[in-house]
């Protein structure tokens, strides 16, 4: 999924301004009576634009709302993707809204296994299964709220159970993708670090074993036999899984099934879901094999300074052997500017702006060993081969160095002070 972004970023600059208009809600075309609305809300930060494009290209919310169309909620509710300012997905009871944060999608892609990295899970099942899994978890919270479901146990576990149980109702491939995606998220991502026992959630490992246990206790146990064969589920727990599954099934039948349209359910169950297109899959594989070669660079000014001008020295995509000094880019006050796509693992930058009437300069001090002195044109736009021998009309300034994280495809410099 990640590589889809590549294509998306190329058209980014053109669509950028159009994205700021208010989101409008959409509905799955196949079921006009559905009470599920969805919307991809444009992110405020440039860095999440690729994620925004990716989830739209995958038609994540379209698929999910059709997937959930048999559920007859008492009123409309919505699912959105949104920039939250933190890594999470949540259900907002006051808005009857499920929110998937772009930050969560990005983090999930970051923790997913890479090619060549030994893992029992594929990138695809973690990214696709994990995303759908977390949305089904939030749907669990939504169902508890909107259907007034009595919950005696911890609601967070209830939401996990709903996520796993619903996943198990679909065709074997979908069931396996979501359960395995959830398993990876719980075990590898959430299971990392010291457990916080005071939290209303179970620990990552508890959630991992819970979901495995329900899957193992279900009619679909054969799909998850590999976990059991590897001894992932200790025998003492495995022995009670049939009963645990029956508890979930019985609770589902009593509290949620009455709100499910059986006919619609049969139609939905028969469909293929969550399949990446051959093109998406090819891009995904290509991306997995090739290390990142390029990155997209953007600058945001959210500080009190105004009229910022930005210059940088980079390796161009078409000619990576040569360093080029580029300028000037006007950064909008309280806004962002996409500079371009470049190669390499570092760049150098220099900027000027006004603080009130005073000129402010961001240059490296002479003592900075990592900096680089370059000639620029002080007032006109320029694209110059990197050089510290200035010609007439040029001045020498000291560029600051910026390391580019090799795992990131999108880099944003954010001025906040």
């Amino acid at each position: 999924m990640r590589s889809i972004a590549r294509v998306a970023t190329l058209t980014l600059a053109l669509t950028w301004t159009a994205l700021w208009c208010q989101p409008s809600f959409a509905q799955p075309p196949s079921d006009q009576a559905s009470k599920i609305q969805f919307s991809y809300i444009p992110p405020k930060s440039l860095k999440y634009l690729p994620v925004f494009n990716r989830v739209q290209q995958f038609k994540l919310l379209e698929q999910l709302s059709e997937f959930l169309s048999p559920l007859r909620m008492p009123h409309k509710f919505s699912m959105v993707t949104i920039e939250c300012g933190f890594v999470n997905a949540q259900y907002q009871p006051s808005k009857w809204r499920i929110e998937l944060c772009y930050e969560y999608v990005e983090a999930l892609e970051r923790v997913a296994p890479k090619l060549g990295q030994p893992s029992e899970f594929t990138f695809e099942e973690v990214v696709v299964g994990g995303l759908v899994g977390v949305l089904l978890h939030e749907l669990g919270h939504a169902a508890v709220d909107m259907l007034n479901i009595p919950v005696f146990g911890r609601e967070e576990d209830a939401a996990d159970e709903i996520s796993t149980f619903i996943a198990l109702q679909f065709n074997p491939e979908v069931a396996r993708t979501i359960v395995r995606g959830n398993a990876y998220v719980y075990k590898v991502w959430y299971g990392f670090g010291a457990p916080a026992f005071f939290d209303e959630h179970g620990t990552g490992l508890q959630r991992y074993y819970n979901s495995l246990c329900i899957a193992h206790g279900s009619e679909r146990a054969d799909l998850f036999k590999d976990f059991i064969d590897k001894g992932e589920l200790p025998r003492e727990r495995a022995a009670g899984c049939r009963r645990e599954y029956q508890q979930v099934r019985s609770a589902f039948e009593k509290t949620i099934l009455p709100f499910i349209d059986r006919e619609q359910m049969k139609r939905v169950q028969a469909k293929e879901w969550l399949k990446l297109t051959p093109q998406q899959l090819a891009l995904l594989k290509q991306q997995q094999q090739a290390p990142r070669e390029t990155y997209t660079f953007a600058v945001c000014n959210q500080s009190p300074v105004t009229r910022m001008s930005f210059a940088l020295m980079v390796q161009l995509v078409e000619d990576p052997q040569r360093w080029q000094a580029l300028g000037w880019y006007s950064i909008p006050d309280n806004g962002c500017e996409l500079i371009g796509t470049f190669r390499g693992d570092r760049l150098f930058w220099y900027a000027e702006a006004l603080r009130g009437k005073d000129r402010v300069v961001w240059s490296a001090p002479d003592t900075d060993q990592t900096a680089s002195k370059q000639c620029i044109h002080p007032s006109n736009a320029f694209q110059l081969p990197a050089s510290n021998r200035c010609q007439s009309g040029q001045v020498l300034v000291n560029f600051r160095r910026w390391e580019i994280d090799p795992t990131l495809s999108n880099v944003t410099v954010n001025f906040t002070k």
């Binding site: 508890v144 007034n148 479901i149 009595p150 919950v151 005696f152 146990g153 911890r154 609601e155 967070e156 576990d157 209830a158 159970e161 709903i162 457990p195 026992f197 005071f198 939290d199 209303e200 179970g202 620990t203 490992l205 508890q206 991992y208 074993y209 819970n210 246990c213 589920l233 200790p234 003492e236 727990r237 009670g240 645990e244 508890q247 979930v248 019985s250 609770a251 009593k254 509290t255």
Partner: protein, 285 residues
């Protein structure tokens, strides 16, 4: 040790007996001549003599103090569709988890264990810990039986559900009883906590520390004034990110109780039990 364990039983039975005598003291409703528990109660009780002689003193005390008879009275408002046996028995393990259609079993081993954990702790906390933990164990085990007998849909893990229901019940009988039992329960979980790592988390039951916070959260959510000490100070016992959600956690269990259990409760009898004098002795002697 002998003194302490005696206190457990005394405390528990005093609390139970207090309600029993109060309930009996009420004039019976018209047409009702026997005490509530004796009429239509579906609770049967048994003290099974232990084969291990070490447990004999516990057996003698619980039997003499009529702990289970008091529990029978306490559960009298419940209108169960079938009989439920509650027994105290030697299990060969600290607990014998409830099985569908089965009896509720309180193990001598667990009473003994509670006593031993309490003996190692702060002497001031010893008596409330024993009493609180004992009452918690009984209510927790009965909660499992309720889920089965009343065919209640249980979302979330059964053990956590039983804990939350037990905490809710422990809060319904006045501030003093709530404070003592919740404090005692919490102290016991803290004192008996183990280190959990790796596949230990595969256990179907929650770690002691999680149970500790779950009880505190329901208590604070249901009774924020009585339990305000949980959120005071720089390092509150109940961390604020959790505490903020506790009102809703309490309401959620309460709503589930009202929807799924209240239809099986005789409301008039419940009022009598709740209005009884539930004060415990000051030090649990």
């Amino acid at each position: 040790m002998a003194v302490s364990i005696k206190s457990t039983v005394v405390l528990a039975s005093i609390y139970l007996a207090a309600h029993a005598s109060a309930a009996i003291a009420q004039p019976p409703p018209a047409g009702q001549s026997a005490p509530p528990a004796a009429q239509g109660s579906q609770i049967e009780i048994a003290y099974v003599p232990p084969s291990n002689r070490n447990f004999q003193p516990i057996y003698d005390r619980v039997k003499n103090r009529k702990v289970l008879e008091d529990l029978q009275q306490f559960l009298a408002p419940l209108r169960l569709p079938r009989k439920l046996t509650v027994k105290i028995e030697q299990c060969g393990a600290p607990s014998r988890p409830y099985q569908p259609q089965g009896p509720v079993t309180i193990c001598y081993e667990l009473i003994d264990q509670i006593e031993k954990v309490a003996a190692k702790g702060d002497p001031k906390l010893r008596q409330p810990m024993i009493a609180g933990a004992f009452i918690q164990v009984v209510v927790y085990e009965v909660a499992h039986a309720m889920f089965d007998i009343l065919q209640i849909p249980v979302w979330g893990r059964a053990g956590d559900a039983a804990d939350r229901l037990a905490a809710l019940v422990m809060l319904q009988f006045g501030e003093d009883l709530a404070l003592r039992t919740i404090r005692g329960t919490a102290a016991f979980f803290l004192a008996s906590k183990k280190t959990w790592t790796g596949s230990a988390f595969a256990d179907a039951n929650s770690p002691e520390e999680q149970r500790y916070y779950n009880y505190l959260c329901i208590a604070f959510g249901g009774s924020p004034i009585s339990f305000d000490f949980l959120v005071s100070g720089n390092e509150p016992l109940l961390p604020l990110p959790r505490a903020r959600r506790c009102y809703w956690e309490y309401q959620q269990v309460r709503m589930a109780f009202n929807l799924r259990i209240m239809p099986f409760v005789d409301p008039d009898l419940l009022v009598k039990i709740r209005s009884a004098d539930w004060l415990l002795p000051a030090d649990g002697r």
